[in-house]
Structure formats: structure tokens, C-alpha cells
Symmetry: C2
Subunit: 110 residues, 2 copies
DNA sequence: CAGTTTTGTTCATTTTATTGGTCATAACGG
DNA sequence: CCGTTATGACCAATAAAATGAACAAAACTG
């Protein structure tokens, strides 16, 4: 009997969009699925799952693929942890300075 | 013969810090490892791997655990994708408005 | 258009993660 | 302090992901 796991809406959305971001970044760089899969050391089948936003793939592989196409999820400094720690509250999204300052602004109405 | 995969420094750092963030958020909420594991529907062993920053755990499970303790990685709106798309460049970190505006500022010198 | 490349999907096999149990140790509380 | 609880680590058994092959369809290209 297969495992039956439930995922929250926010998790499904995050996975779906992360997959799309990776695909967009890949095509923008003119890479085929096979080429990116080769660079990441995974099969095209697995990359397909990742771009589809499946919950199954290993997080290390997904992060590696994201990094390869320039989608940075984290770029934290270890020291950041303690500082962030003192600021934790209910639904705080934790960000490192590099992200807060490096992001390109886009239209505010999305 | 076991699979031998290599992970980049940034991936390892990201996983390590994400695990620490989850652990900090969990303890700040007074949850034991067993309690959080139960809520997430996983074993304490797996949660331990996640908090240790192992690359193996499924990304869906990690995202789910993160969400349960209030560590939001993504909160994108689907429409954001197209807008971001036009702004992709070398090492752009993509952020949704909710993150850009909702983050609590901390000391800039970390 | 015809030919080529890329992608999406499915499937059997191999590899790996997940689980639940156990034990030692650390941290906690009366 | 002693008893309790939480954590970290390890293990065999089980469940699931990763792989590579194969095929159809879609997307390019000349």
C-alpha cells in the first residue's frame, strides 16, 4: 500500500512555483533539460519531476539544480542565525542581507 | 556500491542553515522533536535528518515542516512568475512582494 | 513542410530514504 | 541530586525515489 501524505496549500504552491522558476531560468540560459540534468548529475526524468513541482525529489538535488541556473534560495551566512533567532515571531520570513539588498524590484502590484 | 553525489558549498550551507532555522523555530515554540514529527506525519528520525541539514529528505516534507514552525520559504503568487521572468539575470534572487515587504529588518552588519 | 530536437510520460530495476525500535547520553524538574 | 524526558545515533525492514530505456507528441529548423 502506497504512502499517503498530505501537503498544505502553501507547500504545494511553493513547490510548483520553484519548479517553474527553475524551468524559466533554464530556458533563459538556453539549456536543454538533458544538459541541465547532466550538469546536476541527475536523470532527465528527475529534473522533469522537479520542474513539475513534485514533492518527492530530494531537497539537496533540488537546491543544487536551482543553484546551477542561478535561482538562489539561500545565501545565508552562518552568523546570521543568531541574529535572526532574536527576531523570530509567528510567521516571519527569514532573509539574509544579500537577499534583502540584492533583489531587483519589480512592479508592486502583483 | 553507494551512489556518490557531490553538493556545492552553497547548497550545503543552505541545507545546514535551513535545518538550524527549523530547530530554532521549533524550540522557540516549545515543541519537542517528537511533537513536531507527529504534526508533520513523519518520524523523529527523519526530522532529525532535516534539522541536521541532510540533503536526502524529500523537499515536500522539508517545506511542510518549515511551514509548521513558521519558517516560510516561498509565498509566491502564481502571477509573480511572469513578472519575475522578465527580470531574470545572472544571480538574481527571486522574491515575492510578501517577503520583500514583510521581513523584519535586522542589523545590517551581519 | 519534412527532418531533427526537445519534451512529457510510463515502466522495470536499482538505489535510497523512511520507519520503528533500541540504547546511551544530555537536559530538565521536583 | 534522582527520576523523567528529550535528543542523538545506529540498525534491519520496508517504502519510495532515481534511473535509463522507450515511445509519442510537441517544438524547433532548414
Amino acid at each position: 500500500m502506497p504512502r499517503q501524505r498530505s501537503y498544505s496549500r502553501i507547500t504545494r504552491q511553493a513547490l510548483s512555483l520553484l519548479g517553474k522558476l527553475i524551468r524559466v531560468a533554464r530556458t533563459e540560459r538556453g539549456l536543454t533539460a538533458q544538459e541541465l540534468a547532466d550538469r546536476a548529475g541527475i536523470s532527465r526524468t528527475t529534473l522533469s519531476s522537479i520542474e513539475k513541482g513534485a514533492p518527492g525529489p530530494e531537497i539537496g538535488i533540488v537546491f543544487e539544480v536551482a543553484a546551477l541556473v542561478g535561482v538562489r534560495l539561500f545565501d545565508y551566512d552562518e552568523r546570521a542565525l543568531q541574529l535572526h533567532n532574536t527576531h523570530l515571531d509567528e510567521k516571519l520570513t527569514l532573509l539574509p542581507r544579500s537577499v534583502r539588498h540584492g533583489v531587483k524590484e519589480v512592479d508592486d502590484d502583483f
